[in-house]
């Protein structure tokens, strides 16, 4: 999905790093990952799957293997997006998704403290 189609002002920036950003749409209950020249839409489950797939990539093995290029195809079943990333980009995507999920946890604690536990 092209970035131009989305009103970026309606999105909440969950987490950003030097390579990309993850946004949340409260209106559509979904997320947008701006990374590697793509602006891709994900639901909760698919974002969790993306994180799992990226986390499972062994960067050390990728760099030490001299028989293949240090590129990895990142996708999963049912995902309409494919990323072809080098080792540095994978590290950046790992960092981006790790930061995003940390922010989700923080947001959960904030929601609990400010709204759910105060009546």
């Amino acid at each position: 999905m092209e970035k131009a189609c989305i009103d970026i002002n309606q999105l909440i920036n969950v987490f950003s790093n030097y390579e990309g950003a993850v946004y949340q749409s409260d209106k559509l209950n979904c997320f947008y990952v701006d990374f590697g020249g793509k602006f891709a839409r994900y639901n909760c489950l698919s974002l969790q799957k993306l994180k799992k797939v990226v986390e499972e990539i062994d960067i050390e093995a990728l760099l030490l293997n001299t028989h293949r290029a240090d590129f990895e195809l990142v996708t999963f079943n049912g995902c309409e997006h494919v990323y072809l990333l080098n080792a540095l980009e994978i590290i950046a995507l790992k960092d981006l998704l790790h930061g995003t999920f940390t922010m989700f946890n923080l947001n959960h604690i904030v929601n609990d403290c400010l709204y759910r536990l105060v009546y």
Binding site: I12, V14, Q24, D26, N29, F31, C44, L45, Q48, F101, F104, N107, H108, N111
Partner: protein, 175 residues
């Protein structure tokens, strides 16, 4: 900002991972008991074979109970791959020793899971786990009692035949 992840799922990512690991362990136990049932049957211990077949069904039921809970809470329940099941045993006694060891491992695993729930204050999952913790009392008791038959009856003469005959009589009562 909406708490979308929480809206989608009651349990945390860590608890979901631990529950999926537990599902795998229960599946492994179920297969191991079936393997024990097979070995016992082939070696003429028919009552023990029935006992382990029943145990296998119980473990499968535990697996499905955990599986349903993860799904009901909005999580991703993973159908596990079960490999490396022991198929050969050195003797009748070793089968029961392995059964007790498997139960001890399962109890320990549930304790770790419960500890994580308390740390996260996930009292919903903790309450769900209480059933399994109680169940482990029975499972370990039965496995230990079965092994004790080897001490009480002895393996000499018709000892193993007697042990096999009495395995199915082991029951657990809280009272």
């Amino acid at each position: 900002m909406k708490d979308l992840m929480r809206i989608k799922c009651l349990i945390s990512e860590d608890i979901e991972t631990l529950l999926n690991q537990q599902i795998k362990k229960e599946a492994h136990s179920s297969s191991l008991y079936l393997s024990m049932a097979s070995w016992c049957n082939q070696n003429g211990y028919d009552f023990s074979s029935d006992y382990f077949t029943k145990q296998s069904e119980e473990e499968r039921m535990h697996q499905l109970k955990l599986f349903k809970y993860v799904l009901d809470m909005g999580g991703n329940a993973i159908s596990p791959e079960v490999t490396g099941i022991k198929t050969d045993f050195a003797g009748f006694r070793e089968v029961f020793e392995d059964a007790l060891e498997a139960e001890i491992a399962i109890t320990q695993s549930f304790k770790n899971l419960a500890s994580r729930c308390l740390k996260e204050q996930d009292f919903v999952t903790m309450e769900f786990l209480n059933w399994f913790l109680k169940e482990q009392r029975e499972e370990e008791y039965k496995a230990r009692r079965a092994l004790e038959l080897f001490e009480v009856i002895g393996e000499e003469g018709t000892g193993r035949w007697e042990i096999d005959k009495h395995v199915n009589d082991i029951t657990y009562s809280e009272d």
